[in-house]
């Protein structure tokens, strides 16, 4: 394998891994605030893709995809906030028996609901929005324009996310809630509001990934399945509840997949991540950066 090809695959791996990070950060963010796993994350990814595609084809036209993007993100986020209000809030208000089980059942039902709703409304077809940008040449390395756009979008979004979490009062409330819900409550933080926003922001990140990747991986009812797989792989690798862990895990997964398909075999692409994941579950169950506590 010559150096240019290697560099090209490394670049491609890093780019796709960076985009995987959006999903993983969303999952881990929701987990750290609400102590639940959102199994429907991939479905919000799928919804983001559909909204983006509809806005482009019906309204903005292919050249103004960047106008549709914020709307797709916003729409997914609002849907998430609504779902949090209606379905997930009773977890914390009433005495729901077995919190994590309730959340798992509800979000798994949501995956069934959204996936089949997409089939009912749009049919089982694959839609492909036009590329966001033409092919780019980075020195000697060619790169798909849409992927580059998606990667840059990811960097901007994660940067904004990090700014909000680290530098604002609201971010401080989020971090406090993640550390200790009861402590945050006694400090006068409105947990209901924090939960609603956290869930909305978390799924909006998934929606953004879906909208950004719409031209790359196409838009269809089960498009979220693969991205859920990647997202969960990353959080197990990086550690549940750790945002740096999910970013490193995302880049690592992208690299392993990309280099694995050069050196070993491209058809086993989706197995490498699982191999990495099972290895970590056995050797280091809390992931690279995860919290150490294993029992409730």
């Amino acid at each position: 394998v010559d150096a240019t090809l290697l560099a090209q695959y490394t670049l491609a791996g890093l780019v796709i891994g960076g985009i995987y990070c959006l999903m993983a950060v969303g999952i881990t963010f929701i987990y750290s605030i609400m102590k639940m796993i959102n199994w429907a994350m991939g479905e919000f990814y799928m919804i983001g893709g559909y909204v983006q595609y509809l806005l482009i084809t019906a309204w903005f036209g292919p050249s103004r995809w960047y106008l549709a993007l914020p709307l797709a993100v916003l729409g997914t986020g609002l849907l998430g906030m609504l779902i949090q209000r209606v379905l997930l809030r009773p977890m914390f208000v009433d005495q729901v028996e077995r919190l994590d089980e309730y959340a798992t059942i509800v979000t798994i039902s949501l995956t069934v609901l959204f996936r089949n709703l997409a089939i009912v409304v749009f049919g089982p077809y694959q839609f492909s929005p036009p590329d966001y940008a033409p092919r780019v040449q980075l020195g000697p390395l060619p790169l798909n324009g849409s992927r580059l756009v998606a990667f840059l979008g990811t960097v901007v979004l994660l940067g904004a996310f990090a700014f909000v979490v680290r530098r604002t009062w609201f971010g401080r409330a989020l971090r406090a809630t993640a550390q200790n819900r009861l402590g945050a409550l006694s400090a006068g933080i409105n947990l209901t509001r924090v939960d609603t926003w956290a869930f909305g922001i978390g799924v909006a990140l998934a929606g953004a990934a879906g909208a950004l990747l719409a031209p790359v991986f196409l838009v269809y009812p089960e498009s979220g399945a693969l991205s859920t797989v990647k997202g969960f792989e990353i959080i197990v690798i990086g550690g549940l509840g750790s945002i740096p862990g999910s970013i490193v895990g995302g880049l690592l997964l992208g690299l392993v997949e990309s280099l694995g398909s050069v050196f070993v075999s491209a058809s086993f692409r989706d197995v490498y991540g699982f191999g990495l994941l099972l290895l970590l579950l056995v050797l280091r169950p809390s992931g690279l950066w995860g919290e150490r506590v294993r029992e409730a």
Partner: protein
């Protein structure tokens, strides 16, 4: 009507309840004599799901181990049995038993691997296990024929679903009866103690490690037998049956019927299977409906259909008394 009310009144008495179950079973066994081939096929599949849902209820509902790999244990049993029968030519019934054993061993391994994990990690780990098995099976064209599907020798030399229905009914009855006996025994109390508070159970002298592994092994082996028998009925195995949607369907059945009850998974599986066949013409809308009903139930009425029936029975007897 008075007779029906008397039956309802005596519902709580266990002897009568067993009597009703036996009578219902006898009536169900006679159904093929009145129904056509297609309804009998639907009922056979419903019985398969009764086994899957009931055995999942044992680990998730009664032991508190929310596994997301149950459908894959069925698939493992199916592939193990089919490959054994195809490669070495053992009789199909022996293959089905072997399928149960292989799935049980896999369940034991997963149970051991996830012993220390708390609920969310257990769900994640079992989910990851399920997805990896599915991916491996769809990749290994040489052995499993991957996504093309593996043609499986049939158990009975007939195209009629009737003998299969009787077999699945028998298996389902054995599963539910076995589960009932298990839950009434000391083991059942140990499992429920683990679910309610693992630390307290250990303090009270329950060997949590052993019984968690036991629950995983027993429920996986049951799923393996069901999956093997199903494979030899349908005659084709494919990794599609190991997709996560299948697990979601099992969860929907259990929640709809009523988690942590014996009758819940039975009722849920039969209702979901029959309704989804009845609405087949309307496509995926049926899945949307099931998901909405389950969401509504989780939010407003967690006891499920069994809770509904029970409440109705209590009201009827109260009016009468």
């Amino acid at each position: 009507v008075a007779g029906a009310l008397a039956v309802v009144a005596a519902w709580q008495a266990r002897g009568v309840r067993t009597g009703i179950a036996v009578a219902g079973l006898a009536a169900a066994a006679l159904l093929p004599f009145v129904l056509g081939d297609y309804p009998v096929h639907v009922l056979a599949v419903a019985c398969y799901y009764v086994i899957m849902a009931s055995s999942w209820n044992l680990i998730a509902g009664y032991t508190g181990l929310f596994s997301l790999a149950h459908h894959v244990f069925g698939g493992i049993g199916g592939y193990a049995s089919a490959l054994l029968v195809i490669r070495s030519g053992v009789p199909v019934p022996l293959g089905i038993v072997a399928g149960g054993v292989v799935a049980g061993v896999a369940g034991f391994a997963i149970g051991a691997l996830t012993l220390r994990m708390r609920a969310l990690y257990l769900a994640l780990a079992t989910w990851a296990f399920a997805e990896s098995i599915r991916v491996v099976i769809s990749m290994e064209y040489g052995i499993t024929r991957g996504d093309l599907g593996l043609p499986v020798p049939k158990l009975f030399h007939t195209v009629s679903p009737r003998p299969y229905y009787e077999l699945f009914l028998l298996l389902a009855a054995v599963t539910v009866a076995g589960l009932a006996a298990l839950l009434r025994s000391r083991i059942g109390y140990r499992l429920r103690a683990i679910r309610d508070d693992e630390g307290a159970a250990r303090a009270a002298g329950v060997n949590t490690v052993r019984w968690k592994r036991f629950a995983f092994t027993a429920s996986s082996a049951t799923a393996g037998v069901a999956g093997a028998a199903y494979g030899h009925y349908i005659g084709l195995l494919s990794p599609i049956g190991m997709k996560f949607d299948e697990m979601a369907l099992i969860i929907i059945m259990v929640i709809l019927g009523g988690q942590r009850t014996l009758a819940g998974p039975v009722l849920g599986a039969v209702v979901v299977e029959i309704v989804s066949e009845a609405l087949r013409a309307y496509g995926q809308i049926r899945m949307v409906l099931f998901a909405l009903v389950v969401l509504g139930m989780m939010r407003l009425y967690p006891p499920g259909l069994v809770g509904l029936v029970r409440a109705a029975a209590v009201r009827l007897t109260a009016k009468r008394g």
